[in-house]
Amino acid sequence: MTAPLPFQAPGATPPTIPSASVLRRLSPTLEIAWRQLSYHRTKLAVASAGVLVAVMLMLVQLGIREGALENSISIARRVQADLVVTSPRTRTIFQSAQFPRRLLYRLQGHSAVQHVQEMYMGQARWRNPWQHNEHPISVFGIDPRSPLIDFPGYSDRADELLLADRLIFDRNNRTSYGPVREQLAASGPFETEINHRRVQIIGAIPVGISIVSDGNLFLAPHNFQRLFPDRSPGAIDLGLVQLRPGENPELVRRELLSLLGRECRLLTRQELIDAETRFVQDSAPIDFIFGMGAVVGFFIGFVVVYQILYTEVINHLPQFATLKAMGFSDGTLLRIVYWQGFILSVLGYLPGYLMALWLYQIATRAIQMPFSMTWQRATLVFSLTLLMCLLSATIALQKVRRVDPADVF
């Protein structure tokens, strides 16, 4: 050994040596990706905030779209009859056309039918006893003793509902009807006027309101007649048909149709739900408005993530070229940038999810319809977020692929 060893400081203190991190055990390229992203805290914060906004917009817009739709068809969803008879002119049960009750009773004679039940539906004017103004309200008349529809708590009050001019309020109704729930909670049943007739509100049950109707009332058919004296009891809005156990609604329907003739339509429960969904989608552009919001969210996130990843790639081209020159493959560099896309997805998604939960609560209060998270939507939006980030990474990567390692010399 002749040459002196340069640079070595005498008496160097023993250095601390890092141990392999958790990230590295997952993937060495993930560790590099994280180090690169986390080196510039502000950039990382901006990128995550961009993803957060995108996630929030997508979750909220899709949530409101779905919530508005789901709430609007909640009455249809609650039908428990196997088949439903409507007028061919009915497009939604909120604006139904009537058909003769005798047609429904004809079905009673069929051996597959266990039970039929008529349901009345109308739009009435509710007098707000606090503000002395009137507000339209949907009124549903059905026998409270054994309704073929799931109005939670309705049949529990059957005895009272059979008395004259008693009805029950929907707990989800908008506040335009006045502080009804508070009144009920504080001092029980109270009186008001509906269609200029004095009635007693005996309680409130949770059913669900629609974007086409601000509120619902439920009462027995004979009380419905009192509210709508012009309407003949023989003209009904909805016929609910319960089949005997084991009967197939699809098969029975054909036979029943021949009994009904052309004056009625016979729908399965699912067809009724589908028809209501179609009506809501046709009558209000919720798909467009909220779908658009979700698309805008996706786009915002895409642009922000692309900007960040692209500048990261551009700023590090010489270093990436150096790594390539030293024998690193394109694959390694691709993985680093894709991991960065993945990290940004996760960093943006988690707070975005929490923000969305909070906004659902605000929307529930503001729109007065319940909105909630579903795991399907959460998964869908996470997939969209990943897609958004990986797409950005893919485009940003076009540069890395084209780097000529010979250029670093």
């Binding site: 050994m1 400081a9 160097a12 250095p15 040596i17 390229t29 270093q319 020159a325």
Partner: protein, 272 residues
């Protein structure tokens, strides 16, 4: 006083001379603790008697057709194992281009170029990448990743050698960074290091996986003369102790004395 100070006298590491770097050369197998005998050398190491670089009538041109410009003409030379060869010549004479050919970063057009027993003149792209992994590159710009510490930048190279155990990676990284005098700066980012220190990290990075050939393109150009001198002496010391050949482009007259041989190139032709 920074650690860019002049070289210290030979230090005593545990009272003995620094181990031959090849003693900790990457083992081919999984024996974690090299005994007193050097670990079995990786494939090709035994062929030390063969020259590291053999160039026969190498020519190269940029562009095609009208734009075609020939840069290198009929170059023939050899670099023997353990030799330190400097490449000098005026600007634009083709030094860097020649280095990129030897480094497998560009493809030889005509003639024969064999580097570390690999004929690069008919190599597939994958062969070129494999060849690059056996070469230590030192660039004019250090090109360290600024988001990684000195330690991480050096350690990164072992991703190309996943067969090396974590313990060996740690030992080897520490050894190289100690060797270039950065034992006290292991966890500094490049922005916290001086120009000379950064270049030394780059050298540690180029050498940590025990390359069989070092290609350096003006490694001292960005450094002041004293630091440049130190860096070159470090390279020389490493080459001498390892028998690792070095081909270095330089304009720096003060470092010519470290060379075993000087190749001078002018207008793409070697001068006798």
């Amino acid at each position: 006083m920074s650690s860019d100070s002049p070289p210290h006298p030979a230090p005593s590491r545990s009272g003995s001379n620094p181990r031959d770097l090849r003693e900790v050369a990457l083992p081919a197998g999984n024996h974690a603790s090299p005994g007193p005998e050097p670990a079995a050398p990786p494939t090709g190491r035994t062929a030390t008697s063969l020259p590291a670089i053999v160039a026969r009538n190498v020519a190269f041109a940029f562009g095609t057709g009208e734009l075609r410009r020939q840069i290198l003409f009929d170059l023939s030379f050899e670099v023997a194992s353990g030799e330190i060869v400097l490449l000098t010549g005026p600007s634009g004479s083709g030094k860097t281009t020649l280095l990129t050919l030897i480094g497998g970063l560009r493809r030889v057009e005509s003639g024969e170029l064999t580097v570390l027993s690999r004929p690069l003149h008919h190599a597939l792209p994958a062969d070129l990448v494999a060849s690059r992994r056996e070469i230590g590159f030192i660039f004019q710009q250090h090109n360290l990743l600024e988001f990684l510490t000195a330690w991480q930048n050096v350690e990164l190279m072992f991703q190309l050698h996943p067969e090396v155990s974590a313990d060996q990676v740690r030992d080897r990284t520490l050894e190289l960074l100690t060797l270039v005098g950065l034992a006290e700066r292991l966890h500094h980012h490049p922005s916290q290091l001086s120009g000379g220190q950064r270049q030394r990290v780059a050298i540690a990075r180029a050498l940590v996986t025990s390359p069989r050939l070092i290609l350096a393109d003006e490694p001292t150009a960005a450094l002041d003369s004293q630091t440049g001198r130190d860096v070159v002496e470090l390279l020389q010391w490493l080459a001498r102790t390892n028998g690792c050949p070095i081909l270095m482009v330089t304009h720096d007259h003060r470092v010519l004395d470290v060379a075993d041989r000087i190749l001078h190139i002018e207008d793409g032709r070697l001068q006798a």
